[in-house]
């Protein structure tokens, strides 16, 4: 891709409405989230739909913060708490009344099967089962104060998704894979 025009045409052709690629940190999530909310206001959606899109975005960002193997360090603009920053890509595509919320990040190879197993399991559950499982996870995490709550975010994503969570792992380098998660909301 040589020009921004080519890129623009590609993005337009794919119905991509928002792209973010780069560092991911708490305050950044707030900023991108604000853009996302304003974009959804255009479509005058029922609250459950816009909330579902937003919620999937928030949990995907959190997931990337926890699992992205690529860290971004910008000490000049961040205090110590914010220095733990991840890198990843986020896309929102809109096709009619369908929204595709996608996130991508580099993952250590030893995390691949763990992530895959978690999503595969969630994909076997229906909405009622997901609700029960979410509650069960919340309680389990309460009994384990050290936990950073990594599993719950994925359950929340599965609860909000209109179909199964779609994912792929592609080779990135010898030690890493690129993890793509695609969630459809109608």
């Amino acid at each position: 891709m040589n020009s921004l025009l080519d890129f623009y045409r590609f993005v337009k052709d794919k119905d991509i409405n928002i792209i973010y690629s780069g560092p991911i940190w708490s305050n950044g999530v707030e900023g991108i989230g604000d853009t996302l909310k304003r974009r959804l206001e255009f479509d005058d959606l029922p609250l459950p739909t816009s909330q579902a899109v937003f919620s999937v975005f928030v949990e995907q960002m959190n997931n990337m913060l926890m699992y992205s193997a690529e860290k971004f360090v910008a000490p000049a603009v961040m205090d110590e708490k914010q220095a733990a920053t991840a890198t990843g890509i986020f896309l929102l595509s809109c096709r009619g009344k369908q929204y595709f919320v996608q996130s991508g990040n580099v993952l250590r190879n030893d995390q691949v099967n763990i992530m895959k197993d978690k999503i595969d399991y969630l994909n076997t559950l229906d909405k009622q089962e997901l609700r029960k499982f979410y509650k069960q996870k919340l309680r389990e995490e309460n009994d384990n104060p050290e936990s950073r709550g990594g599993g719950i975010g994925l359950v929340e994503i599965a609860k909000r998704a209109s179909s199964k969570i779609d994912y792929s792992f592609e080779r990135y380098d010898d030690a890493h894979s690129f993890f793509t998660m695609s969630v459809t909301i109608e």
Partner: protein, 127 residues
């Protein structure tokens, strides 16, 4: 213990108020900051100390419009802490879970939390 604690809302954290003299706590707005544990830490420890006192009746108005899964975990933890603190005592905790008819995420979570607590009077209120 601080008797009064108040924080204005930001883009990813809600308005929070804890007032021991008024026996009252309120959360309002959105809560999706990645580090919720740190954000709620101070109020959580104050609430813990307050719960050990002989307070009589305490009201918590929860008017969050959206929260992430880390906040859900923290809220449940807070509710279970209060629920345990009043078990077998004549102390009362009233939680008003205030939301709107179309807020699926909040309603669903409220219903789930209501099932988890035994001693708290948990009211789901549609505005």
């Amino acid at each position: 213990m601080l008797n009064r604690l108040e924080k204005e809302k930001t883009g990813s954290t809600p308005y929070i108020l804890f007032d021991a003299d008024q026996h009252y706590m309120k959360f309002a707005g959105e809560s999706f900051h990645e580090n919720v544990i740190e954000f709620y830490g101070e109020i959580d420890s104050n609430l813990g100390e307050y719960m050990a006192t002989d307070f009589g009746k305490f009201t918590f108005d929860c008017e969050l419009t959206y929260f992430n899964s880390s906040t859900a975990k923290l809220l449940l933890n807070m509710l279970l802490g209060m629920d345990d603190a009043i078990a077998g005592t004549d102390k009362e905790v009233i939680v008003n879970w205030i939301t709107t008819e179309d807020n699926d995420i909040i309603i669903e979570c409220g219903e789930d939390f209501e099932e988890e607590v035994e001693n708290i009077q948990f009211n789901i209120i549609m505005k």
